[in-house]
């Protein structure tokens, strides 16, 4: 692994407008963040999600880095914040699922039927519905995970839902 001075040098070049250095900075940061989260999270997929979330946060809030201070403490403080946020969100989601357990499925539609119906949708629509309606992600989160725009994700959910309704109506009749 590179010394921590590396990140600082890369940041300095990036600030001077060197976009190749900025790309390398994000690459080195991704490696460090991956190691950081791998020690703290059991799920591989969560690790990668959080790495990406941190990279986006570092990019969007890069003004919050003080040029006179090392990059490492700044990056790890962001990483810690995003980790705490992850646990809080997951706690909420788990509580929501617990609540839902006792209640009946709307329209008496069991989970495996839902999966089968989703299988009949175009891949992108099914994925969007899984993320937003089943996992409870926001449209912004779903958009950044799939690498598409927020409005595109919303349109996919909307079209997918319309298609699902049509499929269910077909089955009932």
């Amino acid at each position: 692994m590179n010394g921590s001075g590396d990140l600082d040098l890369l940041m300095r070049s990036a600030r001077a407008g060197d976009s190749a250095a900025y790309r390398r900075l994000l690459g080195v940061a991704a490696d460090r963040l991956r190691a950081y989260y791998a020690r703290r999270l059991p799920e591989r997929a969560d690790v990668e999600d959080l790495v990406q979330e941190c990279l986006i946060a570092m990019h969007e809030r890069r003004a919050s880095h003080d040029p006179g201070r090392p990059v490492g403490p700044w990056m790890y403080a962001i990483a810690r914040y995003k980790l705490a946020d992850h646990f809080r969100r997951r706690g909420r989601r788990a509580a929501a699922l617990d609540d839902a357990d006792g209640s009946e499925q709307p329209d008496g539609l069991p989970a495996r039927d839902l999966e089968r119906l989703l299988g009949q949708l175009p891949q992108t629509q099914a994925e969007a519905i899984r993320m937003m309606s089943l996992e409870g992600l926001s449209s912004a989160e779903a958009a950044s995970r799939t690498g598409s725009g927020v409005s595109a994700v919303k349109v996919r959910v909307h079209r997918g839902m319309a298609r699902l309704r049509a499929l269910v109506a077909e089955q009932k009749s």
Binding site: Y22, Y76, I78
Partner: protein, 208 residues
Amino acid sequence: MKTDSLIEQLARRPAPRLAHVPRIGFALPVAGAVLLASALLAMSLGSPAAALAQAGTAAFAMKLAFSLAVMLASGVALFASGRPGAELRGRLAILALPFLAVAALAGSELLAADPAWPGESWGRCLAAIGLLTPLAFAAAMLALRRLAPVALRFSGALAGLLAASTGATAYTLWCPETEALFLLSWYAAPMAAAAAIGALLGPRLLRW
């Protein structure tokens, strides 16, 4: 999406040097709040000349020094709290100084004589600071927009302190009072209350 392609996308977006100077971006909304607060007070209370004459230069200087010191110190601390990994302890120690000074002055007033309390214009003072604080608090939230607060309660409390001291700084021009005890009761206490409310609101308003 793969992390590598995310990095490609981020690096392709506006060059990092385009990030504006953060101190100016932070100070502008706060300065705007001071100006707007002063304008609102001028519109509702008229000219500050009478109150200034009644208070006298020394009392006015004391109130302005206290409010301005809290405003600057809390502004500096709030800015630092928006930079992950920044050192905060020294900045917080400085923030305590104006409060200690006013408490000491008020204590000596209590010992020396029987000071008038609550003071003639306390209601107006409380109303002015109470009405201006939410406005300045909104400005503080705006100021933090591009920064990255990681301790939301703490940043919220500092934002509350900054907001109330901004309102108080503007109000000093219209305040006819002369006693440090008044300053402690109707300037410092509302600032503390605003800090408490800010600590409650921080986690909701500052999440990112």
